[in-house]
């Protein structure tokens, strides 16, 4: 694997192999005083973030450091990006400076694909850490790792994803990956937050959360972004919360074993009630913890795996 740009097209064997590697890394680090593996010593990972992000950037940075890579963080505010440099020039500069891997987050859908094209000759790997409304593959992989951990398997499970499907890169990555891993996916959202063309996705679509909850093994809640609330996609935050917010009553409609996921950051009281977010049924902090191991696994597959294989 040279790049990780999307979960669309990621085959089941590769996805499973990444998840297995993440499991192994997690076990290897368990109980260790010094949580550092020498695997990527001498390799340079650059995180290039054109959007604000705490958890994803920190997660990649920690993942790189625990693998002993040199990690350099570049954010759009603190580099020549703010002087109007093109994405292409920035990418070529980072590659020339010695990046083995660029982890990129960008507001434009397809930005990671474009970056991978420009860096084809440099030999630099690209990890998509979120491109516009397109994909966020490591989020989907860490969600799958968490589901596997909590439910024992993903295959045959029924996963509900609730909220702003239209603008969500997390959804697109999850739909592809969960389908590849054999799960049933049901998307629950008001029609204004579903893309035209969703009928061709490998999912079921519903507008009624209460009707879906009893059959779900897991529910994944999406953050409702402030600009959507004011964009007329639904009448009010209150009405959204009444129809699609996961409160304690709704949690009670789900089977005992069912878990609650949220990619964060959460809007407590909006899409998720505080009591639900803090309940043992919620796997939200597990997701963050697994995110580090999963990203270690991704860096391993991109930067170390090939060499060991040959």
């Amino acid at each position: 694997m040279r790049h990780l740009l999307s979960t669309e097209g990621l085959d089941r064997a590769t996805a499973t192999s990444i998840l297995d590697t993440a499991d192994n890394l997690k076990r290897a680090l368990l109980g260790r005083e010094v949580r550092k593996l020498p695997t990527l010593r001498g390799r340079t990972v650059i995180t290039l973030f054109y959007e604000n992000s705490t958890r994803t950037r920190v997660s990649f940075e920690i993942a790189g450091k625990w693998m002993s890579a040199d990690v350099v963080n570049v954010s759009a505010g603190g580099s020549s990006v703010s002087k109007g440099e093109s994405l292409r020039d920035t990418a070529l500069t980072l590659a020339a400076a010695g990046a083995d891997c660029v982890v990129v987050r960008h507001p434009a859908s397809g930005a990671a694909h474009r970056l991978a094209g420009w860096l084809a000759e440099a030999g630099t790997s690209v990890v998509n850490a979120g491109d516009g409304m397109h994909e966020h593959p490591t989020q989907a992989l860490l969600d799958a790792a968490t589901l596997r951990e909590r439910l024992g398997s993903v295959e045959g499970r029924r996963i509900g994803i609730v909220g702003d499907v239209l603008h969500s890169r997390v959804v697109r990555s999850n739909v592809h990956l969960l389908a590849t891993l054999g799960a049933d996916v049901v998307l629950v959202a008001p029609p204004t937050l579903l893309p035209v063309g969703v009928q061709n996705w490998p999912v079921t679509v519903s507008h009624e959360l209460d009707a879906e909850l009893p059959s779900l093994d897991a529910v994944m809640l999406l953050r409702v972004q402030a600009e959507r609330m004011h964009g007329g996609f639904f009448p009010s935050a209150r009405e959204y919360s009444i129809a699609y917010g996961l409160n304690e009553n709704r949690l009670g409609l789900m089977p005992e074993h069912a878990v609650v996921l949220h990619p964060g950051p959460m809007l407590r009281g909006m899409e998720i009630a505080s009591a639900v977010a803090d309940s043992p049924r919620a796997a939200i902090t597990d997701q963050v913890r697994n995110g580090v191991h999963l990203r270690m696994a991704v860096l391993y597959h991109l930067l170390a795996h090939e060499e060991e294989a040959s």
């Binding site: 507001p107 397809g110 930005a111 474009r114």
Partner: protein, 437 residues
């Protein structure tokens, strides 16, 4: 660069040997004298400069109602000179240069400048399009009368790139245009439905996470404008029709007597949004590439005359405006040199149009719509020698770097296309030879 004959080299008399007008019948000879067709048949003329046709198809020179020549303002992407050369090489004898220059062609000074530059270059008749509203802002009518009566003799007005979205402003423009015998050409795009839009709203955009440009944003404006044009008893021209629904609306509007005409671009006749998977902005254009069903519908509508003509929407862009992330890229594609070949591929090879039909959609109808008296004329003795010779059997491979435009943003890069323009005549003068293969 191809062999361009400059004025002194073109003789007063020129013989086109073995050519087939409209691709019909046995080859004939066409004698051109003083810019006019003097004889058609078996011509015996000794010592006359001769272009050997080898049975090539002879058509009236093409007329493009929709080009962006970028001068003044973006001469780093195209100029009147380079655009004229591209047009001549594409078989065009007249082009309409859109108003979205910098400064905007919303006044007599700018339109006269563009018109004069076209005359100086002399490879194609360059007709400036005037803006409908001041600064293309859609608020206040530009001085249409002054531009119409200027030396540029503006016949077509358009805010292309922007929609005249305010229904009252559009109504006034349509009404006002009647007194001037000009036509308003609308870029149909309801702006409230296309905020941030990046791609045709459908399966592909949903998959790629690109903000959707719904077909209804075009269709609703076309429907509204057709109703306004009928009410005002004015003429309306619809730019770059891109959807099945718009073709349906046009058919309905024409059936009830609306004086509406419409154009389709070559790229909307051949390309679909399937190409967007690479996120390469060379495929970004406004209106966006649509679905295969739309392509089929547009071809049928053009064949049936529901859509009147082909117009290129030739839109040169600098490398840095295309070699970037999708949402940052400017929309638009080169079109002048590839239009004929794309029409041959999409319409002739499919049996939807014969060469008479090609003459109709590439030359006669656009000349009529714009009111050009000397273009799109029959190939007959006494008519102006605005002509193009096409080798129908030859093919060529498109290379952006080899096109005459300053910019190279062709979506047809690397494609082998049929139909090669071998010679273009503007009033008897050779303005283009063979496109380099």
């Amino acid at each position: 660069m191809s062999a361009l004959a400059s004025e002194p080299r073109t003789p007063d008399t020129l013989l086109l040997r073995n050519v087939r007008p409209y691709g019909e019948g046995d080859p004939v000879d066409v004698l051109v004298r003083h810019g006019v067709i003097a004889e058609i048949g078996a011509v015996t003329a000794d010592g006359v400069e001769t272009v050997e046709g080898n049975g090539a198809v002879l058509l009236p020179g093409f007329v493009d109602l929709h080009t962006h020549l970028r001068e003044p303002g973006r001469e780093d992407t195209e100029t009147v000179e380079t655009g004229s050369r591209a047009a001549a090489l594409g078989g065009y004898t007249a082009v309409f240069a859109m108003a979205n220059t910098d400064p905007v062609a919303d006044n007599a000074v700018v339109v006269e400048h563009v018109w004069r530059r076209g005359r100086e270059v002399g490879l194609v008749d360059v007709h400036p399009v005037g803006a409908v509203t001041v600064g293309l802002k859609g608020e206040k009518l530009a001085e249409l009368g002054t531009m119409a009566k200027s030396a540029a003799n503006v016949r077509v007005f358009s805010d292309d790139g922007h929609c005249v979205h305010d229904p009252l402003v559009m109504r006034r423009a349509l009404e006002y245009s009647k007194a001037l015998d000009v036509v308003v050409a609308q870029h149909a795009e309801e702006p409230r439905l296309t905020v941030g839009a990046q791609a045709h709203e459908g399966e592909q955009a949903a998959r790629l996470g690109l903000q959707g440009w719904p077909a209804a944003a075009e269709e609703s404006i076309v429907a509204r404008d057709c109703l306004l044009a009928l009410h005002a008893e004015a003429r309306l021209h619809v730019c770059h029709v891109s959807t099945t629904g718009t073709a349906d609306v046009l058919k309905w509007a024409k059936a009830r007597g609306t004086k509406v005409s419409a154009e389709v671009t070559p790229h909307h006749l051949l390309l679909t949004d399937d190409r967007l998977s690479t996120y390469d902005p060379v495929n970004k254009v406004n209106p966006p590439l649509r679905t295969n069903a739309d392509v089929e519908a547009l071809r049928r509508a053009l064949a049936e005359g529901v859509i009147d003509c082909v117009a290129t929407d030739h839109a040169p862009h600098a490398v840095q405006d295309k070699d970037c992330e999708w949402s940052a890229a400017r929309p638009g594609m080169l079109g002048l040199q590839t239009a004929l070949s794309v029409v041959v591929e999409a319409m002739v090879r499919t049996g939807l149009l014969d060469w008479r039909g090609v003459a109709r959609v590439m030359s006669e109808r656009p000349a009529e719509i714009a009111g050009l008296p000397d273009h799109g004329r029959p190939i007959e003795v006494g008519e102006p020698a605005n002509l193009v010779l096409v080798d129908p059997d030859a093919t060529w491979t498109v290379r952006g770097a080899e096109l005459a435009s300053v910019a190279g943003n062709t979506p047809f890069e690397g494609m082998e296309l049929p139909g090669v323009v071998t010679t273009t005549l503007l009033r008897g003068r050779v303005t283009a030879g063979r496109i380099p293969a």
